[in-house]
């Protein structure tokens, strides 16, 4: 199997990368957990932000948090198909009970924050999370 380079929590001074827990990501965006509280200590390596699920399916690889303002069951399905560990709903979107059950079944943590998309991604980035294996192409 190939060896994917995953850029994780990045420390510019040392160039060292390390993983972040979902809990740390949640705190970074002043978020709350809606489902999967028992999995908050799972490590995540990178995130992607999009409201267009087709693009998520097309371009995302090895990412663990899906940051989105779209709120329907297909968000959870999409996350499941590409093995995401966590979905973060922005702009105070409230997933339905059905969506939370779907997430529970798939083992996906669901978070929400009142921040909008840009700020949510910015806060995660500032906390050290990066956009996955594409990041190195531009650095």
């Amino acid at each position: 199997m190939g060896h994917a380079i995953i850029l994780t929590q990045y420390e510019p001074e040392t160039g060292v990368t390390k993983a972040m827990t979902i809990r740390e990501a949640m705190e970074a965006v002043h978020g709350t957990v809606l489902s999967g509280e028992d999995k908050l200590d799972l490590e995540v390596h990178s995130a992607c932000g999009s409201d267009m699920m087709s693009d998520v399916l097309a371009f995302v690889k090895d990412q663990a948090i899906l940051v989105t303002g779209l709120c329907n069951p297909q968000v959870i399905r999409t996350a499941e198909m590409i093995d995401m560990k966590c979905v973060l709903f922005v702009r105070d979107k409230n997933p339905t009970q059905d969506m939370l059950e779907l997430a529970e079944e798939a083992g996906i943590v669901v978070l929400k924050t009142g921040h909008r998309m840009f700020n949510s991604c910015g806060l995660l980035y500032a906390a050290g999370l990066r956009g996955g294996s594409d990041y190195e192409r531009f650095t």
């Binding site: 779209l70 329907n72 069951p73 968000v75 399905r77 198909m81 093995d83």
Partner: protein
């Protein structure tokens, strides 16, 4: 493993909320069979995109997944309107999806291109007013 396993799913064209149930089930089954994670992921994405296409363009249909030695075969058959221009439909970004479908997060014109990207082969048979059958293979 000399014999093959086959799973069939009826896709309801009316219920967008349920789109993905077949993909979820296939993914679960492949996991239980212990197929490589990369294979499971590629199959899942390809079926999921196909399932979405069936619902937004073709009033549902039938998905048949056959797993045999080194191969996952997916056949997605619908009785929808057919694809007038396959070349266009295969172009990334080209979409005929409605505004309401876009609001659901789909219709970026990446469905068929994604299905091609994640599979080893894709074959599309289509006839206007009769339907479309997409056959895909993922080898492992």
């Amino acid at each position: 493993m000399s014999d093959s396993l086959e799973f069939k799913y009826q896709i309801d064209g009316e219920d967008f909320a349920r789109v993905g149930h077949a993909s979820t089930d296939v993914k679960k089954k492949l996991k239980m069979m212990g197929l490589p994670p990369d294979v499971i992921r590629r199959v899942s994405i390809a079926i999921y995109e196909g399932e979405i296409n069936m619902v937004i363009h073709a009033y549902g249909g039938e998905i048949t997944v056959t797993i045999s030695e080194g191969d996952v075969k997916m056949v997605l058959a619908d009785k929808g309107p057919g694809i007038p221009d396959i070349e266009k439909a295969m172009t990334a970004g080209y979409s005929t999806a409605s505004e309401s479908v876009r609001n659901l997060g789909f219709g970026a014109g990446m469905g068929l291109p994604n299905m091609k990207k994640y599979t080893d082969s894709i074959e599309i048979e289509t006839e206007l007013g009769v339907g479309t059958t997409v056959t895909m293979h993922v080898k492992f």
